[in-house]
Subunit: 224 residues, 2 copies
Amino acid sequence: MEKPKTTVRILEKISKANDVIAEENRSEFLARGFAVINLLGSPGCGKTTLIAATAARLRGRPIAVVEGDVAGSVDAEFLAGQGLPAIQINTGGGCHLDAGMIREAMRALAPADGSVVFIENVGNLICTAGYDLGEQIRVLALSTPEGDDKPHKYPGIFVGAEVLLITKSDVASYVGFDAQALRRRALSLNPGLVIFEVSAVKGDGMDAWCDWLAARVGEKKSCE
Amino acid sequence: MEKPKTTVRILEKISKANDVIAEENRSEFLARGFAVINLLGSPGCGKTTLIAATAARLRGRPIAVVEGDVAGSVDAEFLAGQGLPAIQINTGGGCHLDAGMIREAMRALAPADGSVVFIENVGNLICTAGYDLGEQIRVLALSTPEGDDKPHKYPGIFVGAEVLLITKSDVASYVGFDAQALRRRALSLNPGLVIFEVSAVKGDGMDAWCDWLAARVGEKKSCE
């Protein structure tokens, strides 16, 4: 292999304007008693299914969802069909949500005070990592078919997450996924990362994740 | 569900500067007899494995690879280990390759005249679609675990591709993937799209894709 001749471009990570709005969001969320979760992950990693399965296990508080996609509204429609208040943001080509979009969407969605609000970000392991939305908890979902080598390729998103959910654990054996290797690589970037392996479809690992989340958002006993 | 209150952000698709360099690249590639393929797809959709398996079947011409990643060089190292001349571009946080990066990388890689050159773009279904690199063929890889609903969510990348490779066809039955539904949705956006279903690991469908590619890049008989 030739030695890398790298052309380095540092992404303009966070605009000042976004940070200001994100802090305003966070203050408002706190005042309203919201627990807001920013869920990041690749296209097709199972974010929507995970939200539905998590919501079905969280019983103590009202739940609402903000869906982010470049186009379309299939995910918001699916979640609404599950009985969850949901609103769709279409970015129209944009590769991530920002704090201003969330401010508008939350005003339109108008969740009940005390709600747990899931924000499903646009499917993207890069651009989403640079935008604070004002959330309290940032969760990264990585599905087993994506492979255990992702931390080294997309370090920023692993560094910024509080929780890593290894999704689609039920197909790990079919796709040659090494969970221990992923854990080791992810923890080398972010030693405090909380990691769960889950299958939202089969239910494996969902209780452990849900118990953790319930405790994190201040529930005494909300998972069942 | 609340009616969508969309916050629309139109991505600045293509800078003039990128277009100018892309055209210069294309002219140079033509002059050197290169066939250059820009391979797009999500993180973990199997792009690197696909390149290795395709290269193993293309026998008529020299092959080289330009690897794009935010960080790291595991893919270029893997391909170099397969005997392929490979160079790694690290974008340092950037979410796509651009024509200027390719110009520099091709000068450093210096493929033999007449080479087939695969460019593995950064794993991203959004930002990569807006940047012409000067390639002759744009190929989108979408893996079955990502789901058959992706065309409606990421329409731009389907509209701009010449070929859609449905990768990881060997695990389709484990992940509930409907190939006919994907074909229908993709073709509704891009009626001329050429589609193959492949498993680079198992070999299924690789001959059909490879025969098409060999013909497209002007080989008489280069697949075996």
